[in-house]
Symmetry: C2
Subunit: 255 residues, 2 copies
DNA sequence: GATGCTATTGAGTGTGCGACCAATAAGCAA
DNA sequence: TTGCTTATTGGTCGCACACTCAATAGCATC
């Protein structure tokens, strides 16, 4: 007995190890919840000792915040890509709504509920949540402005429209842990009808089949995407032009 | 030193002690969060030993669920009373929206975020959350049906309208732990405009000053109300007509 | 092949949690 | 007043957590 499962140390570069840790933490956060992002849990996942995680994240709160940042940004990119080469804004918006009503979206809803709750007690996480909310607002606002420029949408306040849509999506996602069968159609479509109203679109314009055109409905942020996301976070970390991050950003970014 | 703060035991009837425990737990849940509803915390609050709390709630999860049930039902009664002797449905609905945008509502939003998240891991709490969601739906649906009967509202699906309104309120409340200044007016009014649309009301009908008539905007569920709520929970506890509750209800109700 | 840097380990600290249980005493009934 | 029921205590156990730090061993460099 007591066959030590691993006797050989594997020594990696700090950058590689840190990226690995954050990616693992993000995966745990998304599938099991931010409370499960513990030193022990992440260490076990990577087959290393908990002390090593502490070495890279002297404060566990930074790790949790980084995990959320990476997971949330990865999902945002999957749902509402920053680059949209393959279709019109209306098609991407329709795709967004289509994905948002799928079962895979439940994980993201759960993650956001989790983060919003936990941010009550954890200031570092709260900062990241705020930043991710702004990032979502920006992303959708940009899409809407693009659609307005092309004449697809009509609104005099793209940001307000974006926030209204996201608020409704938050409301629909709030029940991700409860049973939501027997929801009336008007409720299921609430995000769509809010968008249609805010963007002055005819009823049904954004409904899934057809409206997405040839856009792929695939929904799987890869690990590569998450790594890219991590470096993106590094850039966006601190308050404008500062070298000192706000904890999480710093945790993800520096090395 | 070491003046034992309390040397004399105070022996109470099981009913009184249980009610006291649940009321305290509900207060802790509302002000500090459901994670703070621990045996030790509640015991300290009541100046008793933790073992006593265990005696009344052999499983801590039941205590948490009971705390949420009492807190949430108390708040529901304060926001959307079951009895409405002092005004019209429209006035009570306007009052509801007025209260829902006040700062005091943040505590309730936080509680719901908390419960929805925690219910991911705690089945007993999940049941209570589901029941409380249904109770909210029912309460608002009844109000709407009443308004329709009086000719104040117009809708062919009162429940759908109720759920739509509540979903939007959930979405707005989701950010109770983040910063929400600089929200566009269209977002702040989103619940109202959703209601106006769903109930076929002219714009502005439900806005706060004036629309509430002489209705008091006071918002303070008393301890007495919470006690009443506790006994109400006892009645609504089990699945229809059963003596055995589903854990939380049982915890609140039996004696 | 030897050397130095440092990533990684192993062991330990302290805290807070739920759960358990025998001993104790409060207060009601005889 | 006496006795009995049981509400309440006090103490303990095991677990999971974050955090600390000296010792160890990869691995790049010379």
């Amino acid at each position: 007995m007591s066959s030590s499962v691993q006797r050989k140390r594997i020594r990696k570069s700090p950058e590689a190890r840190r990226a690995e840790i954050v990616a693992t933490a993000a995966r745990v956060a998304l599938t099991e919840g931010l409370e499960c992002v513990t030193l022990r849990r992440v260490a076990e996942e990577l087959a290393v000792r908990p002390g090593l995680i502490s070495h890279y994240f002297p404060s566990a709160e930074d790790l949790v915040a980084a995990a959320f940042a990476v997971a949330a940004l990865g999902e945002l990119d999957a749902l509402l890509p920053a680059e949209r080469p393959d279709g019109t804004p209306a098609q991407y918006l329709a795709r967004y709504f289509a994905l948002s009503s799928g079962a895979a979206y439940d994980d993201i809803s759960r993650l956001w509920i989790n983060a919003r709750h936990l941010s009550r007690y954890r200031p570092v996480l709260r900062d990241v949540v705020t930043r991710m909310e702004l990032a979502s607002d920006d992303r959708l606002e940009t899409l809407i402005l693009d659609g307005v420029a092309r004449g697809e949408f009509r609104t005099d306040d793209a940001r307000s429209a974006a926030i209204q849509i996201l608020v409704v999506l938050d409301g629909l996602g709030a029940h991700a842990n409860s049973d939501r069968t027997d929801r009336p159609p008007a409720v299921t479509r609430l995000a769509l009808s809010t968008a249609e109203r805010a963007l002055d679109l005819p009823h049904g314009t954004l409904d899934a089949p057809g409206a997405t055109g040839t856009l792929p409905l695939a929904f799987s942020p890869t690990e590569a995407a998450e790594a890219a996301v991590a470096s993106e976070m590094a850039g966006a970390a601190g308050t404008p032009g500062a070298a000192e991050g706000t904890g999480a950003g710093e945790a993800v970014g520096d090395a």
